[in-house]
């Protein structure tokens, strides 16, 4: 088993699986973006969107091989994104302090407090989505990489 990689495992040679995954993955990603940016109006938000987007990448890794998934989303980039999401969230909080408000008091960010709330929530949710997606994919790829080693 030492030589085998996920890319050569039997699961990647299943045509039905490959074709289905190819059709589904873009739709899952699109749905994740919908959940992310429509979270103001419908159920969902950054956390759910991040998990859904992460599962699309994980599905790609499962069906087409972990190495191809790592080529599309390199582990180093994922690490930056995981930190970046959390820093974006905290940064919005600090920006509120810098504008003269309390930590995470979004209303202070713009002239109109309601617009400020919208802007703050949007940015914060993007941060949540980035961190959740990259952590989920990273955890999966670390486990999968362990299997190959």
């Amino acid at each position: 088993m030492g030589e085998s990689t996920v890319g050569a495992s039997p699961v990647t040679n299943q045509p039905v699986l490959r074709v289905t995954a190819k059709v589904l993955i873009p739709l899952i990603m699109l749905f994740a973006l919908y959940v992310q940016f429509h979270g103001d109006f419908s159920p969902g938000g950054g956390f759910q969107a991040g998990v859904i987007f992460g599962s699309a990448v994980i599905l790609y890794g499962l069906v087409f091989g972990e190495q191809r998934a790592a080529r599309a989303l390199p582990p180093g980039l994922l690490r930056w994104l995981a930190c970046g999401g959390l820093l974006l969230y905290g940064g919005v909080g600090l920006a509120c302090i810098a504008s003269g408000g309390a930590f995470l008091e979004y209303g202070i960010l713009t002239e109109n407090p309601v617009d400020g709330q919208h802007l703050g929530i949007l940015l914060v949710e993007v941060g949540v989505g980035l961190t959740v997606t990259s952590v989920m994919v990273t955890i999966f790829s670390v486990f999968a990489g362990r299997r190959q080693a």
Binding site: D40, G45, L86, V142, R147
Partner: protein
């Protein structure tokens, strides 16, 4: 009426799945059943009008957790270590029964489902419901509570997820962070980690 029936059926399925998980010794099957358990929980949350929670449960519990369990099993064995069944230990049964009864007794103090006088509904919830459309102006009240009123909590949650990822990377991540997949190279505390 039909909702009650639905809840009873879902709860019965939940109990059946839980018992099946306990009785199985094939861990792959147990993991798949855990996925089904999460999906049933998600349906239950949906029946209770909590689509946000149902969403999370379906995506995390049935989706990601199942995949992570399966990858873990591919690293470990897929069979449970069979321990010979030892009979005649009434003390264990007593402990389990007493704990279970104590927990069930504890639930008697909980307010009824949907009780408008429940502490959760009479403390800050009315303020959220009355103020958030005007102060935040977002249709999905759950989003305004999570991201704005409870923004600090959510920041903490994101930090928890980040820490979890960091922990997994530090414990297991050496082999993939170095570009080569050599077994010995991964052990070194080298600078190859930042290479990509």
């Amino acid at each position: 009426m039909i909702e009650h029936l639905l809840v009873v059926v879902l709860l019965a399925f939940l109990a059946a799945t839980a018992i099946a998980v306990i009785r199985l010794s094939n861990l792959y099957a147990a993991v798949m059943l855990f996925g089904i358990y999460s999906l049933l929980s998600a349906s239950l949350f949906l029946v209770m009008d909590a689509p946000d929670v149902a969403f999370t449960e379906a995506a995390v519990g049935a989706g990601i957790a199942t995949v992570l369990m399966l990858t873990t099993l591919s690293l470990a064995s897929d069979r449970e270590n069979e321990k010979p069944l030892r009979r005649g230990q009434p003390l264990k049964l007593v402990v389990v029964a007493v704990t279970g009864l104590a927990l069930a007794w504890g639930t008697l103090d909980l307010p009824g489902y949907g009780d408008p006088d429940a502490p959760a509904h009479s403390h800050v919830a009315p303020r959220y419901i009355e103020d958030s459309p005007r102060a935040i102006g977002i249709d999905n009240m759950v989003t305004s509570i999570l991201a704005s009123y409870r923004g600090f909590d959510t920041l903490g949650e994101v930090a928890v997820i980040f820490t979890a990822g960091l922990g997994v990377m530090l414990l297991l991540g050496r082999t993939i962070s170095s570009g080569s997949r050599s077994k010995s190279g991964g052990r070194k505390h080298g600078g190859s980690k930042s290479g990509d």
